[in-house]
Amino acid sequence: MTDLTRLTIAGARDGLKKGDFSARELTSAHIAELEAARALNAYIVETPDQALRMADKADQRLKEGDAPGLCGIPLAIKDLFCTEGVLSTAGSHILNGFRPRYESTVTANLWRDGAVMLGKVNMDEFAMGSSNEHSHYGPVKNPWRAKGSDQDLVPGGSSGGSAASVAAHIAMGATGTDTGGSIRQPAALTGIVGMKPTYGRCSRWGVVAFASSLDHPGPFGRTVRDTAIMLGSMAGYDAKDSTSVNRPVPDYEAGLGKGVKGMKIGVPKEYRTDGMPEEIDALWQKGIDWLRDQGAEIVVVSLPHTKYALPAYYIVAPAEASSNLARYDGVRYGLREKVDGGGLDDMYEATRAAGFGDEVKRRILIGTYVLSAGYYDAYYLKAQKVRTLIANDFHSVFKKVDALLTPTAPNAAFPLGDKLDDPLAMYFNDVFTVPANLAGVPAISVPAGLTGDGLPLGLQVIGKAFDEETVFTVGQAIEDAADFTAKPEAWWRD
């Protein structure tokens, strides 16, 4: 880690404005670091030349005094975002060689504000997974290791490359997407901040779809302030996404620092699950105490349908995915596997068999099944009803409290391969994050402490729809109190 890669986005922004260093220097420092960190397998594509071009342009804007908040800030982009002219694979072999001729709205917003792209980062294939082991490009390794161990751990998923790159200081921030926890869970497992905004805040246009009604683009940063800065740029109404919401985007950064005094913070009793590790329960209690100490009123609340969230999610998400992924058929782009003497169906089968990994196939099968004639009512329709009940749970509880505090994940980072043969154990990683996706409400994960083994743990703050400001405020109160300064040792440098 160099002086420049140690900076936060906010710090780098101020340094750039003062002229302490140039965007080219800042970007070059990150390129050097990420090239030395290939052992993490965080990047699928590195774009150093493009990064330097963008940095030079940022320097020009800085010189001209036209420097928006992210001017010259080097970022990692989850490979789910389509980036013009740059390989965009969603971590899948089926998008082999796919270079879009268009730029996703969210990344376009970041470039508009002067940000610099370091490259495209690894992820679970089509964002399906909680460990980043389901990538055609191989697993990402968590920069963190347990004390005294050299065992490789997962960074969480699906945005594992995003989380690892920010945690390892090989990007100042990153974009991610969160369909069931894919921003918050990896943020928790890598000791950084991850924010899933309200559904409709960030456009999905140009983001490869997993489950349209649950997909939320959002930012990673090392501080709450950094994610607030990033979200301010990423968010905004987009007429090209019919589910985008036309509401003004507040200045999230300006809204920080208000403190939680006088706020009512709910602690949902249903989140205290059986078999939850003692350390996580204890950290949760610590978080409660921190907020109380800062003047918040703690209220135990009930979200009675919580236990149905995970099963409902694993019906709705695969159902949408089975349809969203039908377009990968070998006809127009990406992989095409031809069969000698075969017809159209043979090409479909060969292409999709070779192009999709096991987890993606599993979810396509589940999704196809739950939408099938005779099963639709029992599964999909029922799950949608559950979803409504869960949204109602949040709606009524937010009449009483300003925000909720929960753990982010039921465990810390686990060894590579540990849950690979047990999909249900893997799915259980999303147990605390999935409800906010089903309800579309904003939630953040903030690093709050370490396990006895020295691995990071996160706490989650969930807020009302379109009230990201309160979520950031409460998140910052946790951040302040936790004073999480631990860093992984840079074992990955060769």
Binding site: F81, C82, S88, A90, L95, F98, P100, R101, Y102, S104, R204, W205, G206, V207, V208, A209, A211, S212, S213, A239, K240, D241, S242, T243, A319, E320, S322, S323, L325, A326, R327, D329, V331, R332, Y333, L344, D345, Y348, T368, L371, S372, A373, Y376, Y380
Partner: protein
């Protein structure tokens, strides 16, 4: 009034009734596609009108085209149907090379338009009311081209994503004739309001035909669906063939299998495409990329205000206010362009003559239907290509009314107008075709004729009244047909 003729298929066990329902797919007239900004125009180079959304590129999202919604609502209103201010788009999932998304965005459970009805004209004053079950919006697919390469199929996505209205009838039709008349009427209505051009050759209107047979009074039989029939004649042929086929199977002791069939226009028969067991499970579910489709009363009011007078209302006005015969009114309203021409002509005549519409309407209608349509049909031209404008027609008809030319001469003048595009007055002037109404001139001629035909004069005066026509003919002959017949009659009676 309902049809009094009952159509049956004769079988060895007796007469069979047929039951027909139609799903008509009508391409919406709009500049852009249903969910993308690409042009919906017909006839472009392959894949010239394809947006990123139409090609289902990763991360692309559909955005509803409000104009297509407006057209569907207008159509629903024109069909007297219920308009659903809340409707929803669903995905219909299946794989095909010309379906880039792997699903068609359609409306399954909650269509934009509900029940309505269409009154169908069966000729000779017979009508039939056919119920509309629903109308929904959906995307068209692209086109697979199998004949471009010996071992590859090409795909043209120009149509991919173009907006279609699927108009589903109730199983109310009982004969091929009724089905044909229903499609014709639907086409007329859509063309009137401009929501579909009704061009069946270009595929902008095509029908899936559901046919079953039963003995009168029995419950509905098992139906077969004949897909993608693209002309009114084929619709009728397919029904006729299919009903016969079903009757033969049942009477041979067989059972009708519910299946999808194709009509082969060359052989005039239907053949099996896929059975019920092979039918797709489309796995419909609400499209999560789109919000439910909602609009307010103002949108409906605007849509309603934009509707022209519909053919049924126009026909009533033509018969009741203008005094046209039911037949003439039907002929004139069948195509909006024809009705428009007639009304423009009428307005020109009223302007030129100062007479009331009702006074001149019959003459105008007769002229349009026999003279103008006759020439247009002969030269295979559409009314929009007519070399004689409504104003030109009015000028010609006014010459008759004013007695400048006779009806007989008018036909010749029209012929020249049609050929040369010259005005009626100019032709009459040029060729000296003015009617002779000068009593002095005609009287002199009559005197000559009476003098020259003493035998006939004697016979007439002796009681052979029929010879009056002979004298009229002689006068006409002498004047080259230009003598005013009324003047001739009057003078002849006086002189004889």
């Amino acid at each position: 009034m309902n049809t009094d003729k009952t159509y049956t298929v004769k079988g060895v066990t007796g007469d069979w009734e047929i039951v027909v329902g139609l799903e008509v797919h009508a391409q919406v007239i709009s500049n852009a596609k249903l969910f993308s900004g690409a042009s919906a125009a017909f006839g472009a180079e392959p894949n010239a009108n394809v947006s990123l959304v139409d090609a289902a590129m990763p991360g692309m999202l559909p955005v509803i085209n409000g104009e297509c919604v407006r057209q569907a609502v207008r159509t629903g209103l024109a069909l007297g149907a219920q308009i659903n201010k809340w409707s929803r788009f669903d995905r219909k999932n299946y794989f095909y090379a010309d379906l880039p998304q792997g699903y068609q965005i359609s409306q399954f459970q909650f269509p934009i338009v509900g029940e309505g009805e269409v009154v169908v004209d069966l000729g000779e004053g017979r009508t039939k009311t056919v119920g509309i079950e629903r109308l929904h919006l959906e995307q068209d697919a692209g086109k697979s081209l199998h004949d471009q390469h010996p071992d590859a199929t090409y795909v043209d996505l120009n149509r991919s994503g173009v907006a279609l209205m699927e108009i589903v009838s109730k199983p109310d039709m009982r004969s091929p004739e009724e089905a044909g008349a229903y499609v014709r009427k639907l086409r007329t209505i859509l063309r009137y309001i401009g929501s579909c051009d009704g061009n069946m050759e270009e595929g902008s209107m095509r029908a899936d035909v559901n046919v079953s047979v039963r003995k009168s009074g029995d419950p509905l039989g098992t139906r077969c669906e004949i897909k993608n029939v693209n002309s009114m004649r084929f619709v009728m042929q397919a029904i006729e063939y299919e009903a016969r086929r079903q009757v033969d199977i049942i009477e041979d002791g067989g059972m009708i299998k519910q299946e999808t069939r194709l009509f082969d226009p060359n052989k005039g028969e239907t053949r099996s495409m896929r059975s019920k067991e092979e039918a797709h499970d489309y796995r419909y579910f609400p499209d999560p990329d789109l919000l439910p489709l909602e609009f307010d009363d103002a949108f409906m009011t605007d849509a309603k205000a934009s509707l022209p007078e519909l053919p049924d209302a126009k026909k009533i006005r033509f018969t009741e206010s203008l005094g046209l015969s039911g037949y003439n009114a039907s002929v004139l309203v069948a195509e909006k362009e024809n009705a428009d021409y007639f009304e423009a002509l009428l307005a020109e005549i009223v302007k030129a003559t100062g007479k009331g519409e009702r006074e001149v309407a019959k003459q105008a209608a007769n002229w349009v239907i026999s003279d103008l349509f006759g020439h247009l049909n002969k030269s295979g031209a559409a009314i929009s290509d007519s070399p004689v404008s409504p104003a030109g027609g009015a000028e010609l008809l006014k010459l008759i009314t004013d007695g400048v030319i006779s009806g007989r001469i008018a036909k010749d003048v029209f012929e020249i107008m049609y050929e040369t595009g010259k005005s009626a007055a100019a032709i009459v002037e040029e060729k000296g075709l003015q009617q002779v109404s000068d009593t002095g001139e005609i009287e002199a001629l009559i005197d000559q004729i009476i003098a020259g035909n003493p035998g006939q004069v004697a016979a007439y005066r002796g009681g052979k009244d029929k010879l009056f026509g002979f004298f009229v003919g002689q006068v006409m002959k002498a004047t080259g047909g230009k003598a005013n017949p009324q003047v001739v009659n009057k003078l002849l009676r006086k002189k004889l």
